[in-house]
């Protein structure tokens, strides 16, 4: 900037003001300086500007992958979410700083906050980090989390009604005549735990008709879910066997689609032998073969709410959590 100032024969202060469009500098001189800066290809150094102004005009998006070291940001649900969040942030004129968090790392959030790298933080998925979020939210306001709404939670979340959504999915399976419905997923993950509650609720309501709930632990990646399902099928025996099952509720679409693969690979049919329902309604769900029944989360709307709530928080407002409806979408995999 001082170079431009020297060339223009003014001080750096004036250049700064001219480029900022301040009326404190004469219009003619302002235009002259701007022209000069453009010609010389001068661009304000963002780092220095951020330091001086104490704001960065950018948002951090952190994605904790605690339950699955192998889970990649390339996961279909995450990428959809990231894409929509990025769209919205860009639309607001902010930049987006993307960060993958791979625990064990106990102080990633204080680090991220303290580094002052961004003006606000969006965390996608609670993963194992509920306590960390809880602790940070006390002192740091501009923080919004995509995930399940837990009891006594002080941070601001956006998400769908996991309990109701899962419950409607399982009730749909029961109404369709299914009697042994397996829950495929890891209830230790907060969101999954809520979906499991919904699954249990549906079972309680129909206790006379269905066999007791049964969980098959499965992580969030396609490969591990496939393997979990494959192993379970092997242990359960074929249709009609003692441990037989006639439906699977996958905690996510990725898990459910993996289950479909494992089931068909075992020579069973979907939905003939086993009905399958997932959760998320990722783009792939409707394109799958057979098309996957699932509980739809409106990711785009969720992403917009995340960003919009964050901006309100950055302006000092203390926004409450938001829960969106989760709508059952019935397709062929459970027809």
């Amino acid at each position: 900037m001082s170079d431009i100032a020297r060339i223009a024969g003014v001080s750096a202060s004036t250049v700064s003001r001219a480029l900022a469009g301040s009326t404190l500098v004469a219009a003619a001189k302002r235009d002259e300086i701007r022209r000069l800066a453009r010609e010389r290809g001068y661009v304000i150094n963002t780092t220095a500007r951020n330091l001086r102004l104490q704001r960065t005009q950018s948002i951090s998006v952190a994605i904790p992958l605690g339950h699955e070291a192998g889970q990649s940001l390339a996961d279909p649900f995450l990428t959809e979410m990231i894409g929509h969040v990025a769209d919205r942030i860009t639309q607001r004129g902010y930049g987006m700083f993307l960060q993958k968090i791979v625990p064990p790392m106990d102080d990633w959030l204080p680090q991220l906050i303290g580094s002052h790298r961004s003006d606000g933080i969006i965390v996608i998925g609670q993963s194992t980090e509920h306590a960390v979020l809880e602790a940070a939210a006390e002192a740091y306001r501009p923080l919004v989390v995509w995930g399940g709404r837990l009891a006594r939670q002080s941070y601001c979340t956006v998400g769908t009604d996991n309990v109701a959504g899962a419950r409607s999915a399982v009730e749909h399976l029961i109404q369709a005549g299914r009697r042994r419905i397996v829950f495929l997923g890891d209830p230790a993950v907060p969101e999954i735990g809520l979906r499991y509650q919904g699954y249990l609720l549906a079972h309680e309501r129909a206790a006379q008709q269905v066999v007791p709930a049964q969980v098959v632990p499965a992580h969030l990646t396609a490969d591990t879910a496939y393997e979990a399902m494959r192993a379970f099928i092997g242990a359960a025996g074929g249709p009609g066997a003692a441990g037989a099952f006639d439906a699977v509720f996958g905690a996510t679409d990725v898990i459910a689609l993996s289950a479909v693969r494992a089931i068909t690979a075992a020579g069973l049919s979907v939905p003939g032998d086993v009905a399958v329902v997932g959760y998320d309604d990722i783009v792939m769900a409707s394109h799958a073969n057979p098309p996957l029944s699932t509980v739809r989360q409106d990711v785009q709307r969720g992403a917009h709410m995340l960003v919009d709530l964050l901006f309100r928080r950055m302006e000092g407002e203390d926004t409450p959590s938001a829960t969106m409806p989760a709508d059952l979408v019935i397709r062929e995999s459970s027809a």
Copy 2:
């Protein structure tokens, strides 16, 4: 930092050195200072650090969406690519700054470079920005682009062999007995243009057998591609009509899958009446109904190459462009 220094009874210099793990400060004092900083929740201010060190420990990923204002970062191919790139960057200990570029904006790249926000830049897709990239590459080294390899191009690209890949796809259609193969896509986009060349090459080779090449312009989003295909079907008439066609080569999988939807919606069957082949092999392609034949780009490998080449460039090396093979994957949509 000066607060910590005061509490510890030392100077800021010493705190800085202690936190950096410098051996210049006595071991006992170093541990003491570190403990104090942790207790107080002190975190080094990244902005100030970046300014002083003249590096940011982060990479910009820019995505120009020139040909389609409505195209979102949520596009399946882009999200897969972003996810893998993010994984690799994170693995290197760097942060990732994601930026969506919506032309017309002539100086986004000089701006991005000049802002010194990142230590290197990855551009995903040339879109309409070939000239901009060309101009910037002269003076700025740490820049790598995902896209097509064009003649007389001075910037470093990573991509698949679009011409050969497209050609193998079209030759496959011809061998399968298809005679009127429509190219669905916009050849003005550099990568798509190369695929169109491959399409033409295959037609030249089999000029006696097939009818001349025919382009149906289609943008890169699912909706516009669907609409383009629908309109074309309406104009072409049914099977056996004068303008009838028996195959579609979609410039991307998103386009091809939209074509499948439009074709089946018109009462035609895939592959019975019309065979369809795409390009990319996005995750959805194999899950589609029918599973989509396509030209596979190894996105993960491509993402890793992008990042790895960029780091070599950041160290001053002048890396050449890299072209990966594009492998035809035959599935039911063209069987």
